[in-house]
């Protein structure tokens, strides 16, 4: 059982690394440019020349897939950094100070968790412009509450332990206790949540881009590539199949890694 799990874990790390590296080094790998149009070569099925075929403007799907990976992965990265930072900070604050602070924060978390997040994101994206930065921020700002709840629970249990009582009696400052003594002990679930959050951020980004409200063409993201394939349903399956497969694989790998870490560290 253990070996099988590890095998899947390393497999996921390998596949993810592959996606990250090919995205980063896309300009050195691709023979074509992601925006290079060729109307004589439009909607070609996968072949030796274009391994994933071409789209409605004759652009190489494989090339666009790699460049889209840069966009989708970096959106997820920034969003996860924002949500992890907020979730950890807010969760520790609530769990450590308890009382009124805790009650207010718990209510705020409840508010966020009971809103259909996707509606909220759409509301915000439609009022502000759907720029790359805005999408990163919106996804980050809407996905911290579940982590905050987790960190709060962990903090509550950690702060009951003897060594925290000991450092409290030493008269250390509250901030020092929170970030030097409690934080390292709640880090495991934070890392797990960040890895899993990566997967869901990619799903959310591609979801809004799929609806035409996220990353705007001609810049490619996996979501908007999928969307353009919808128009050619039954005509050119490769347009939506490969971007979807990329999303699926990357999200699957993040989930597998996250779950393995969770079991290993015994996080909740």
């Amino acid at each position: 059982m253990e070996m099988r799990k590890n095998y899947l874990f390393w497999m996921s790390v390998f596949i993810l690394g592959f996606f990250v590296l090919t995205s980063v080094f896309a300009p050195y790998i691709c023979r074509y440019s992601p925006s290079q149009q060729s109307l004589s070569e439009k909607l070609l099925p996968p072949s030796e020349k274009h391994i994933f075929g071409t789209d409605e403007f004759g652009r190489d799907v494989f090339t666009r897939l790699l460049y889209a990976g840069r966009v989708s992965l970096s959106v997820a990265l920034v969003a996860v950094i924002i949500s992890t930072f907020l979730g950890t900070l807010i969760g520790i604050t609530a769990g450590f100070f308890k009382g009124v602070v805790d009650a207010v924060i718990v209510k705020i978390i409840d508010v966020f968790l009971s809103i259909p997040t996707f509606f909220l994101i759409l509301m915000v994206v439609s009022l502000w412009s759907p720029s790359l930065l805005n999408i990163m921020i919106v996804i980050g700002l809407t996905s911290w509450p579940s982590l905050a709840r987790l960190v709060r629970a962990e903090t509550l249990s950690v702060s009951e332990r003897d060594f925290i009582k000991a450092v409290e009696s030493l008269g250390l400052s509250k901030w020092r206790i929170m970030f030097v003594h409690i934080l390292p002990n709640v880090l495991a679930p934070v890392v797990v949540a960040a890895v899993l959050g990566f997967g869901s951020a990619i799903l959310v980004e591609s979801g809004i881009s799929f609806l035409g409200l996220g990353i705007q063409p001609p810049q490619a993201s996996w979501g908007n590539m999928l969307a353009s394939g919808k128009t050619y349903l039954g005509v050119a399956w490769w347009l939506s199949f490969f971007p979807g497969l990329a999303i699926f694989l990357v999200v699957l790998c993040f989930n597998l890694i996250g779950e393995t870490l969770k079991q290993k560290w015994g996080g909740s």
Binding site: M1, K107, I108, D110, V111, L113, S114, I115, P116, T117, F118, F119, L120, L122, M123, V124, V125, S126, L127, W128, G199, L203, S206, G207, F210, L211, G212, L213, L226, G229, K230, L233, G234, W237, S240, F241, P243, G244, L245, I247, F248, V251, L252, N255, L256, E259
Partner: protein, 326 residues
């Protein structure tokens, strides 16, 4: 019980205020602010006229008063009129609501119908082939982008084989069908959207049921039931499952936000005439009153769903209501 319901109801008030405040702030902080939202924020509007309109809409009052006024409008379901055709926002939402409710009720039903047996048997035969197979399935369910799955299924069943419709809720000329044919046609159109919208939640509920069952099955009263020689099947369903069902009931309420949020995508893909697609159309047309009305209305509806789940939880589990009344 009534006591409990009232208490629960009051605990939702801060939640309601939080949600409405958040929505209000989104409007307030949006570029152009509420003036833009009501259609006179553009620089082409005469400044004097704008000041007058601000007064008319009460935008010259302090922020708190503005919020209270806005709350009053929500309470009376007055979300203003759509930019596109001047129709009342609330009327548009009510027109689209039945389609969304139908879709979601069907998918929740399907989710429970499939997830409960799978979850229960996975727990009973923990680490068996059956269990492992569905563990993999759950993982795939979590990771697959549903719109991608939708496109693939549409391609296979709709375009290649042509056996399922890929868009809309009813066929052309539905009004003239006989009653039975109307129902069958509706079901035929429901198959793909319901399956797709159920897919992700199916995975999470299966996992949840399994975890709950494992927890209950490890408790002492199960052991004592076994010792008394009660048949395995009876222990599984009568003793264990009934206890595992309680937390599962609440998860239905928690599933609502993601189901409804996902509705925007499914309804757009399948051209399903529900509120999700209305939201998408509103966003595409920058129809601000419709966007805000839709968002706020759906959010409050979700809150109501959670409230109902809470009550049903207490109804199913006496420990909850008596524990709270002490």
């Amino acid at each position: 019980m009534l006591n409990y319901i009232i208490r629960r109801f009051f605990s939702y008030i801060p939640l309601f205020i939080g949600i409405t405040l958040l929505s209000f702030l989104i409007i307030k902080l949006a570029p152009g602010g509420p003036e833009m939202m009501m259609g006179f924020g553009s620089p082409r509007v005469d400044p004097q006229m704008r000041e007058k309109l601000k007064k008319v809409y009460g935008l010259d009052k302090p922020v708190l008063i503005q919020y209270l006024n806005w709350l009053k409008n929500i309470a009376t379901l007055n979300f203003g009129v759509s930019f596109q055709d001047g129709e009342k926002v609330i009327k548009k939402i009510f027109q689209r609501l039945p389609a969304t409710v139908l879709l979601n009720v069907c998918s929740i039903f399907l989710i429970f119908l499939i997830a409960i047996p799978i979850g229960v048997y996975s727990a009973e035969k923990h680490n068996s082939f059956f269990d492992r197979f569905f563990t993999v399935f759950v993982f795939l369910g979590f990771s697959v982008p549903t719109y991608w799955l939708a496109l693939i299924l549409m391609d296979i069943f709709g375009v290649r084989f042509g056996i399922l419709p890929v868009s809309g809720m009813v066929s052309f000329g539905w009004e003239n069908f006989s009653f039975l044919k109307k129902i069958l046609d509706l079901i035929w159109h429901l198959i793909l959207p319901v399956f797709i919208s159920a897919f992700t939640s199916l995975a999470s509920l299966t996992r949840y049921v399994k975890a709950e069952m494992l927890e209950v099955l490890s408790q002492d009263f199960i052991l004592s039931a076994k010792a008394r020689g009660i048949p395995e099947k009876e222990i599984l369903w009568k003793h264990a499952f009934r206890n595992a069902l309680l937390p599962v009931a609440t998860i239905a309420g928690l599933m609502l936000p993601s189901l409804i949020g996902g509705a925007v995508i499914f309804e757009t893909i399948f051209s399903w005439p529900g509120v999700g697609r209305l939201m998408w159309q509103a966003v595409m047309a920058r129809d601000y009153p419709l966007i805000m009305g839709n968002g706020v209305f759906i959010t409050i509806l979700t809150l109501l769903g959670n409230f109902l789940a809470d009550i049903s939880y207490a109804y199913l589990d006496p420990r909850i209501r008596y524990g709270n009344e002490k």
